[in-house]
Amino acid sequence: MKSPLVASIRLLIRDWRGGELGVLFSALLLAVSVVVAISGFVNRLQFNLERESASFLAADLVVSSSNPIPSPWIDQASAVGLAQGETITFSSMVISAEDEMFLASVKAVGGAYPLRGALSVDKGLAQASTAIPEPGTVFLAPRLVQQLSARIGHEVYVGDATLIVAGTLLSEPDSTTGFFGYGPRLVMNAANLDETGVVQPGSRVTYRLLVAGESDDLTRFREWVEPQLVQGQRLSSVDESQPGIGATLERARGFLLLAGSLGVMLAAAAILVAARRFGERHTDQVAVMKSLGATRGTIRQLYALSLTWLGLLSIVLGSGIGWLAQSAMFNALADQLPSEITRIGFAPYITGAVTALVCIGFFAWPPLARLGGVSPLRVIRREETIADATRSVDLVLGTASLGLLMLWYSSDWKLTGALIGSIAITVGLGFLVAQTLLKGSRQVGSSAGSVWRLALAGMQRRGTSSAFQVVIFGIAIMLLLVLTAVRTSLLDQWRLQIPEGTPNHFILNVAPADESSLLTFFAERDIEVGELYPAARGRVMAVNGQPLPDWDRFEDGARQREANFTSTDMAPEGNKIVSGSWWEPGTEKSLVSLEDGFAEDIGVKVGDTLTLRIAADEFSVEVASIREVNWESMQPNFFVIFPDRLLERFPNTLFTSFYLEPNEKHRVGELLDFMPTLTIIELDVAIQEIKTIIDQVSQAIELVLLVILVAGALVLIAGVSSSVDERLHESAILRALGAGRGTLLGAVAIEFAAMGSLAGILAILGSEAAGWVLQTQMLDLQYQIQWVLWPMGVALGALIIGSLGTYACRRVVSVPPLQVLREL
């Protein structure tokens, strides 16, 4: 052919007119748009969620140190292009002009603080202000305002500095860094720090360098700083400092990746079906072209070029559709997400394009490549070899390429392995079961009524292609089941993570003598309060008689460690004993139970002896058990737990927790008026934030599930319509021979329902296998066989495929047979 390029376009346009390209093109379009939409959406969502959770630190990354941050570090942060801010926190007495005094937790802020999230300050104006205090001014937490009776414009003294109150601090992004920060907050400008004279060498001060920027730059900075950290210095990101949020985000990311990968697989299945159909429909055309002198090479070139054009078109259009879809999804969540404008970047388009190319190369091309081998003899002998069904080489190559694609897409070999494995199970079992059943059905068929005989004979005549359809249906249903099941366990788990009424305030320093009056206080106000636990601040001094290196304020490395000790004779709920065993209640022995990370830090195992100190008392205990603690629950967790009897000997205070509705916040002030010595830790804002994030990702997941469901439905439709032509022709002949409409439709319905229930069984087998791997290995969720799904899968498979198939074949009875016979 002279100009294959032009000829291929012409072929394409003609095929388009003939309606034969529609399904293949839609499948390609589906592949590209699903991938672009989901990966774009995931990118944006992830970016936003990271931003949001970064506000827990007020930064992307924080370096904290007990000494001033070395200036080369700040220079390096600038050099790699990161934004910076600083905070210096310490406890100090704050004195008002009226000589009222209160111990406050002071935070001096400077630079671009806060880099993520915002302050919210009431300055008596209509709108809350978000700027940090001007030099010479401070913001006070409401409790401090109350205690000092200091209003806006009043003076307060921090050390030697005189500062003006400029507003009431409503919220700060990094409020929860440091579980045991004492006293209500005072925020001042770092410029006034020296004036205070409070910060002297040796005083307990925490310096933090806050940085934020692109993740590459952050990584570069992290890699540069990390080796230089010395004792008392540490680097933290959100994941590390907020394990609850970190794990939530990690799971959400995992789910979305899974969803995206399933999108790719569904699209590949749709393409495979469509290309097969396209190839079959083109067999006659190719035979004629070859009889007219087209060589194998010409044919291949022609179809290769057509496919290339098709691919290019679907990449361009699919990218557009994908972009629209992701912004629609994003807008659906818009009121929940910060209104930051984020672009989706190039990556999703590249992913989409690569997906299209892989799908074209490994799924669409093989059936078309085989067209080159069609015998021209077919023009005189119709039964001469037709372009053969999918060969096992193609199947293996296709699966391998899909695996690589998913691996590239998710960078997760477990996920890839689980999905590819379950698909292999479905395909293998599918062909086996389908072929056996299809063969066996002949016997049943011949003894059954005419509708059934027709249905079973039909399935059998289309043996391989029926098996192929069953497998495709099975895969589609399986992937949808997997995703639905994972989604359900994920949402359940999240719902359980912070149940309604989770305590959001903690009280420390309750003197044992005050216990009953505290309980009365809560009872009178109808507030539920948790149990009171004894607590003592203590320190680990030696392991097996070996003294540990000196304790430093910052807790890392195998050195002396300070922690909050508690005692209980009941193993705490939600903790898992990983070695050793829990003690008998009421034991008099000197035992201790340690959190696993803590035990690892100081290098001890069950049976070792620890020397501990509480206040001035030193004593020894034996490690009885090591526990795994669920840090994601917002419950009080303890590193070190003793039997009740042991701690009774030491001076201790009590602590407890309670839940306050947002509109009851004033109870905190009342409680402090009632017992000024208490320390109250307010976690309500943090818990609310985590809940918001969980709500957002839950909704995002539902949306993505919806997209995937649509993709799955398209695969089913493609699968059903792939056999419509053939059925149309057969039914026309049967109708010409006098078969009634009812008989024909009944036969079609039975045939599809049978294939549907078979597919349902396969899908359930595959999804249980995949579900097990995904939930236990990847998403770290509990796995349960979903028995309910079994009958449901079969019934739904039969129902859905049965009705889709019957609907698609309605033409079989509605079009006059003569017209059908003429068309073909």
């Binding site: 052919m1 002279k2 003609r14 003939g18 002198g293 060589t295 194998r296 005189i380 068309e823």
Partner: protein, 221 residues
């Protein structure tokens, strides 16, 4: 122009080996018209397929325009077909997705001929379908479809034209029109024509007439 010697075609079926052609010797000169008649299943289409290079024989020789096509591979035979051979089939074999004009243009495009469109329009007009260029096959009657097929066969100006029961699917009157066209164009173009038919009237219009009986070919005198 066409010459075969000891042409044998065997196929193996599930049960046994079947000898469809049992040693065919045949010679047809340039510009001649030849008819092959015979009972259904006697091997006529198989012979035609071999002569046109659609298939390879089990043994024997086939020479087309001086070229021994038995030694050619499938692609070389395809090129030969596009240069020298035209086809008309019993069931027309028009591509349903293409218009009448595009169907005629197809072999010209495959042969890389420049003015494919003009030539096709010319031939469609010559078969009396000047008004129906842009009609799809399904909107044409059987006779009209076969006329499109004839235009397609002649458009590339083949040296040899093969026709396998060209009137087999048509009623007598329509068939006669189609046959007139076939012979008319054949004369104008000086093509060598080999046709398979059941129709003795059609066979009698050919200069030479062969009878196929169970894989053996004999020329009727």
């Amino acid at each position: 122009m066409i010459k075969t010697s000891q042409l044998i075609k065997r196929v193996s079926t599930a049960e046994s080996e079947l000898e469809i052609l049992r040693g065919i010797d045949l010679e047809i000169k340039r510009g001649e018209t030849a008819a092959i008649v015979g009972a259904s299943g006697s091997g006529k289409s198989t012979l035609l397929g071999l002569l046109a290079g659609l298939d390879a024989p089990s043994s024997g020789e086939i020479t087309l325009d001086g070229i021994n096509i038995v030694n050619l591979d499938e692609d070389e035979r395809a090129i030969l077909r596009s240069e020298k051979v035209g086809f008309v089939f019993q069931n027309f074999q028009l591509l349903p997705a293409l218009t009448a004009l595009e169907n005629v243009m197809l072999p010209l495009e495959l042969a890389g001929i420049d003015d494919a469109r003009e030539k096709s329009e010319e031939f469609l007009a010559r078969v009396g379908l000047g008004e129906r260029f842009h009609h799809y096959p399904r909107t044409l009657s059987g006779g009209e479809q076969q006329r499109v097929a004839i235009a397609r066969a002649f458009a590339s100006r083949p040296l040899i034209l093969f026709a396998d029961e060209p009137t087999g699917n048509l009623d007598t009157t329509t068939g006669a029109t189609v046959v007139d066209l076939l012979f008319g164009l054949n004369q104008e173009e000086g093509t060598t024509l080999v046709l398979v038919t059941h129709d003795n009237g059609l066979a009698d219009r050919c200069q030479r007439k062969f009878t196929m009986t169970a894989g053996h070919l004999e020329e009727a005198s």
